[in-house]
Symmetry: none
Subunit: 237 residues, 4 copies
């Protein structure tokens, strides 16, 4: 990126600011005082302003970075074998990432156009669109929704999760929201955990085997995805 400073220590500072800002914005939204961010990053307030002209610009940079990761996720799934799993898994992961992250949530709800770090928004829409259309072609998603609908549904799901903190029900609202997208015949009646289990990744139902340890994921690929996802989460806080 052109914004990256030449000197090594300056580059390091930029990273630390972004990281600190990410954490702070995630926890408290745009309201965190900039000084707090600077302190968490271990730099002076002035240094933040050297790197980002405005608090708002910092916010956008943070969010852009985050969405870029999401976009990469989407693009990696572009040719996945299982269009349904790819789509619903992506849906769930986006919600999971953003649901306790005020900043990201706002960003996905707002229009990101006007951001200087150009194109993330478009790339996000495009990536999601590919997954959506493939899933629709595979008959896994109803045909009367478009990519804007799905995006809005994601935003809604984030807020639902937040509005619904009940112990042990994390992800329940995401599943419910997904159901709005499934074609009639594919709908699960298994929201109630007593009625069966669903794959945490793609939301497909898991047929319980009569013997052996109960399956947690619907397939090997989903198990693998869950693993990678945990590692990523550990790293990015």
């Amino acid at each position: 990126m052109s914004n990256a400073p030449r000197r090594a220590d300056a580059r390091r500072n930029r990273e630390r600011i972004l990281q600190a800002a990410f954490e702070a914005f995630a926890a408290d939204g745009r309201l965190v005082p900039l000084d707090d961010i600077a302190r968490r990053a271990g730099v002076g307030a002035g240094t933040v302003y050297r790197n980002f002209p405005t608090k708002e610009a910092l916010f956008r940079a943070v969010v852009t970075t985050r969405i870029e990761q999401i976009v990469e996720d989407a693009e990696a799934l572009r040719d996945a074998d299982d269009p349904a799993g790819a789509f619903y898994g992506f849906f769930a992961r986006v919600v999971e990432r953003a649901m306790y992250n005020h900043a990201l949530c706002d960003a996905l709800a707002d229009d990101l156009s006007g951001f200087d770090t150009c194109g993330v928004d478009d790339r996000f829409t495009a990536g999601l669109g590919v997954l959506l259309r493939r899933a629709q072609a595979a008959g896994a998603v109803r045909s009367d929704v478009d990519v804007q609908d799905v995006r809005a549904l994601m935003v809604g799901a984030m807020h639902m999760e937040r509005a619904h903190r009940r112990e042990g029900r994390r992800g329940r609202m995401t599943l419910l929201a997904s159901d709005a997208l499934r074609p009639t015949t594919k709908r699960n009646e298994t929201l109630d955990p007593r009625n069966g289990t669903r794959c945490e990744i793609c939301g497909n139902p898991i047929t319980p085997a009569p013997t052996g340890r109960p399956a947690r994921y619907c397939s090997a690929s989903c198990r693998q995805k869950a693993h990678r996802r945990k590692q990523a989460a550990a790293k990015s806080g």
Copy 2:
């Protein structure tokens, strides 16, 4: 209410403050400066404080009033002939009222307990619960969701509507969210307006007649409800 002042001008002021606060909070959420509210109401800041001990108290009063109207709506539908229409219509109306109203939206998402204007939250939950259970008994709502799910879904729908401002699509996300609640066999595939139409009130599909002016509502009772709703909206701003 016992809070109402005796003098006529004071009562008028109290109303103006509530009205101004309603508008301001609706537009910008809790963040609006109290001075702005006072100015919009055409009174001094002190007058606001005479009526409400705290900005937060004012916020709660505004929101409580609003929710009380909603609760009355719910309670009026308690014995409606058409449980499905009653439930989905109520769902849509709550979302409609709150979707551009940051204050109300926050209030429904948060827990309202702790509010001094006692019981609104509980009454809301209770009223919604009645509608939900009747609709479930009538087979119009899937049986694996409870009242907290529905409440969270409402909150989600409000945000979806906000995240999805496209001209002519108002209410689309509400319908989509509702679909998450319908049992498999009842699901509509008509979200796309080209594929058919649904009643704005209860969300039921409208079978287009080959002749005559296209129907907008599914029944006379829904037409009547829509009419009353418009009038109420006009009055309360």
Copy 3:
């Protein structure tokens, strides 16, 4: 007084305001909001302003009233048989009345001249002066102090009492302050309660009798004074 309104209810209001103000000022000093006083008096704020042009004026009126009572006390002692008892008893009573009364304390410390309720300050000084000179003539007070010294010493004693709240030591600092006024040979070495007792009223030492119930006051007249004082205290709160 010329300030007294003609109508009976108005006069009653004036009294209630003065009483409420007395209590409020005594407890919290000049800082109490005027609205609080009005509420305690059971009248509107406007009524207070009808009677007293300013909060400050009300304060002065309250204090003046109070000091008038003290002045009457002094004037009643003008010809007392026991000049020493009269002086030291008066000293102790003034301190006792004012020590937890912020308002009165301030008033005695400040110069009251400039007050519209004319003459209290002068009358206080005059009354105290009489008692002082008679006690000096009787050899009970050192001759190198004047009335201003005594007044200042009273103010000091009030603050000492406040600064010295130890259980069971009420009045100790007043006695100590009095000692500064006694001529050398009359000084008590009995401040420590274990070393003997002193009359609560006039501060004279009480010679313990070998038999009978221990004496509390030095004379019948002091016992009587203490009695009257308790009754007065009960009435005025």
Copy 4:
């Protein structure tokens, strides 16, 4: 102190704030608006808050600093040759410093415990206690008073001085208050300046010599102390 900023200008500002606060609090007590202090210090309000988290904290810092100086004074006298002079001189100096200083006066009257700048209060009590006990052992202070009495008497003396502003009588009430502490036989009858003079430092009587310039201090050591005291006063404002 660890609170001192590294940068020179910041340190200067901190000093100016403390100085301005000292003056303002001294003159008007805790009530001075913080903005006034800021203005007097020539800084913005924010700068004050950078240095002291609260107005109250600033007040405490000011007062603590002042009391620390006093404590040092007391500790320096711990082994003085002349216990009587040490005690009475210290007494007079504390009163002198605090008498027109509302802040310090309040602080000495209140309990300072709870202050974060730990121990000043205890150190003050301890230092005063040493001086008191030595003076008592030397027969210069009556034996029935304890350190709390003396502290309260100091507070009283400050208020007396304030209540007694007569030209040329500065310190008179302090001497009078001291007299309450002297054992009977040591009491001076020389409060009236016409009857003789007393050392400003230790309060001992000065026997006027028939010839030569009238003595102002009772001894060379007191003259020296007075000199040092003036210089210190000049420095600290």
